[in-house]
């Protein structure tokens, strides 16, 4: 193997901590009593629940259907009964709950009927929809629906397919374990990808700190009927990032703001290929994955885990220890702190990293930026992080975008080397999310403006139509008057007809009054029942509101009253 490799700019070398977990065999985690399956586990639209509370579901049964093109279904990871569909804590940085389906498992682990797909005879679009309904998403971290990525688009083929076994984050070894033990199945998945994308060149990039995985993949590559090149790439963080892997292997850069398919390259994580093989050759939807449990636990190892398993059961399984200071989902560079340990394992959960003060000492306090540009030296996106920091901190989002904020891949390399210990990536995430929020607001404002303008136009039009109608009426009346002067009695009917309008309004008002009375009676029935234990502040507020309401009511009633007197 003497493929010419390219070195992307930047990168850091944090301590790897891989051997702690990679040297142990994979264990299957036991079936938990309760599974919590979030409906939003992927990028794009959340799945829509298709079961009801109380339903009995089988293992592999779809419980949430994909909603739209960029979406993926979710499935019951085991057989049991749906006990709740509602907000539950999920593994998200915000700590906010999200819609989940809770299953009480029955221990029988009973599969739904499933059969392999004959992918070669299926139409590509049909196969992709099938994969979307089997819940396939990328398992490398971004959780993008795989069906979308398996669509080569208008080019109709994607010459280069890269299988990403980089796994550059410290501590994580689930891809390593998967390649060591399931290399053949990974390549079966690659065969399906190759079929859909029409790829002619297949590269497997694996960082050279995983020699066993490289050997296993090379051995498996000998057995398949298509050419697969297994390439050992230098170990450097974030060498496993898709864009970085592409540059390392091909020397090409994905143009800013475009997709890798625009340069004829598609990248999949090895875990995704494995899940694809299980789906196509066994008909199994994505209901489990490998999870590395490591850090401050007694037995650091990889587990085969059902999606929806609460994280604390895995930590208990690995042997929890005193002195735990927190738990991350993912690695130390890009991982997300978990709000609590009830949160379930989701499709994105590659690693559960238990923190302690020895392994992860509290970060020192930040000092001001001294513009040393070490961040720029290590930035794999070749940005000027110190400038982005300055703009993001000052809320100057326009400049931040001009300086290519959105090319930042949030790898954390800049924060890692910053001698002032500034949480730089936080500032970029903040700026990005603020910009998105503002764009959303802008769209909402534009919609409101459009609707308001249309309303103005409609009112104008209605007024004009009314005026025209009246004019036409008047003209007709006049014409009639001119035509038939003798029927003067008829002429008197015109004011009478005009008088009909107010009487119409009277009728309407009477109706309103009647409805009002009904509503009031109803409202009396509906008297608020939660006013017992209120703070004085709230009470006062309620009183104020009541007073205002009374006044408005009075005003509303006044014209009616006067009318009634007439």
């Amino acid at each position: 193997m003497s493929r010419e490799l390219f070195r992307f700019k930047g990168g850091v070398h944090p301590p790897e901590h891989k051997s702690e977990s990679s040297t142990h065999p994979i264990h299957a985690a036991p079936l938990p009593r309760k599974l919590v399956i979030p409906l939003r586990q992927h990028i794009g639209q959340a799945a829509k629940p298709v079961v009801n509370v109380g339903d009995r579901v089988l293992k592999g049964q779809m419980i949430g259907a994909a909603d739209g093109y960029i979406s993926a279904a979710v499935h019951a990871s085991s057989s049991g009964v749906v006990t709740a569909i509602g907000l539950q804590p999920v593994p998200h940085i915000s700590g906010l709950p999200d819609l989940c389906i809770t299953l009480e498992t029955d221990g029988r682990d009973e599969w739904i009927d499933h059969a392999p797909l004959d992918y070669r005879t299926m139409a590509p679009a049909e196969l992709r929809m099938q994969l979307r309904d089997m819940g396939l998403t990328g398992l490398g971290g971004a959780v993008f629906p795989s069906a979308v990525k398996l669509d080569p688009g208008t080019a109709h083929h994607c010459p280069t397919l890269i299988l990403n076994g980089g796994e550059c984050e410290p501590w994580i070894t689930c891809d390593d374990a998967l390649m060591r033990h399931h290399a053949d199945e990974i390549l079966q998945g690659v065969a399906v990808m190759r079929h859909l994308l029409g790829s002619t060149e297949i590269l497997v990039g694996i960082e050279d700190n995983k020699p066993e995985a490289i050997a296993a993949m090379q051995a498996a590559a000998q057995k398949v009927d298509f050419a697969v090149e297994v390439v050992a790439v230098p170990t450097i963080y974030p060498g496993g990032g898709a864009k970085q892997m592409i540059e390392t292997l091909t020397g090409k850069q994905v143009p800013s703001g475009k997709l890798s398919t625009d340069i004829g390259i598609q990248v999949f994580n090895v875990g995704t290929a494995h899940a694809l093989a299980r789906a196509v050759h066994h008909g199994e939807p994505l209901i489990s994955r490998l999870v590395t449990v490591t850090g401050h636990v007694l037995r650091r190892q990889n587990f085969g885990v059902l999606i929806g398993t609460p994280m604390h059961t895995l930590i208990t399984l690995a042997g929890d220890r005193d002195g735990t200071t927190g738990v991350l989902m993912g690695g130390p560079m890009m991982g997300v702190p978990m709000p609590n340990l009830e949160v379930p394992v989701v499709k994105a959960t590659n690693c559960i990293l238990v923190q302690s003060n020895e392994l992860f000492p509290p970060l020192p306090k930040a000092l001001p930026c001294i513009r040393c540009t070490r961040c720029a030296d290590v930035c794999p996106a070749e940005l000027q992080p110190q400038e982005l920091f300055r703009f993001a901190k000052a809320g100057d989002f326009g400049h931040a975008q001009e300086y290519h904020l959105f090319d930042c891949i949030e790898c954390g390399g800049c924060s890692y080397v910053c001698p002032s210990h500034i949480p730089l990536v936080d500032f970029y995430r903040y700026a990005k999310s603020e910009i998105w929020a503002r764009e959303k607001e802008k769209r909402a404002a534009d919609l409101a403006r459009e609707r308001h303008e249309f309303r103005q136009f409609r009112l104008e039009r209605e007024k004009k139509e009314k005026a025209e109608k009246l004019a036409a009426k008047a003209q007709a009346a006049r014409a009639q008057a001119a035509q038939d002067q003798t029927r003067r009695a008829e002429l008197a009917a015109a004011p009478a007809a005009e008088g009909a309008a107010p009487s119409d309004a009277d009728a309407k008002k009477a109706l309103i009054a009647a409805a009002l009375a009904r509503a009031q009676a109803k409202k009396a029935e509906l008297a608020p029942k939660n006013t017992d234990q209120l703070s004085p502040d709230t009470r006062r507020e309620i009183e104020e509101i009541e007073a205002r309401r009374a006044k408005i009511l009075e005003q509303a009633r006044q014209p009616l009253d006067t009318q009634e007197k007439n």
Binding site: A366, P423, A448, R451, H452, R518
Partner: protein
């Protein structure tokens, strides 16, 4: 001397012609300043500024007839943006026009609603659906939270519900680095 005068006059005539031609050729339709101001305003159409909608307020600002600090939904940030656009000093919000509130949408209690259509007529963005004697419903995605539907309702069945932060709308917060409190 005469030559110089002739040259100057000649230049003046040429430049005048060019200016005159370009004034016709590149004529800008409408009032671009009001347009720019309107783009900054939040389009709530709530009328708290004293004008019937955002656009009339924008035109009033452009004409110098209204101050830039009369829009509570736009908040201090909106005032700042207007000040930047107009090249004037930003000032604090004029409290007489109201104070900024958290973004809310109207909600109709359908148990109480009598279907009088008064709110439908009041809604500046046609975000209430319903017909006479039919229950009315707010189209939440299109509601600007202007509160204009509250006063006309004869049965007080409309309330403002603040938008709770949920996962799809969650935003990263500005990181806190407290230099002054470093231990």
């Amino acid at each position: 001397m005469l030559t110089a005068i002739l040259v100057m006059v000649g230049i003046a005539v040429v430049i005048g012609l060019v200016l005159g031609w370009s004034a016709i050729r590149f004529k800008v339709e409408g009032n671009p300043l009001a347009e720019k101001i309107d783009a900054i305003l939040p389009q709530t159409q709530c009328g708290q500024c004293g004008f019937p909608g955002c656009r009339p307020y924008a035109e009033a600002i452009a004409k110098g007839e209204a101050d830039i600090n009369q829009c509570p939904p736009g908040g201090e940030e909106g005032v700042k943006k207007l000040a930047e656009l107009l090249g004037v000093e930003p000032k604090s919000l004029d409290e007489t026009h109201g104070t900024p509130k958290p973004k809310s949408v109207a909600f109709i209690d359908e148990q109480i609603c009598i279907g009088c259509t008064l709110c439908i007529q009041a809604c500046p963005v046609d975000a209430i659906s319903g017909a006479a004697k039919q229950m009315h419903t707010i189209i939440a995605a299109e509601c600007t939270g202007c509160e204009l539907c509250l006063p006309p309702c004869p049965v007080d069945c409309i309330s403002m519900v603040p938008l709770a932060e949920d996962l799809p709308h969650w935003k990263w917060k500005h990181p806190v680095i407290e230099l002054k409190r470093v231990a």
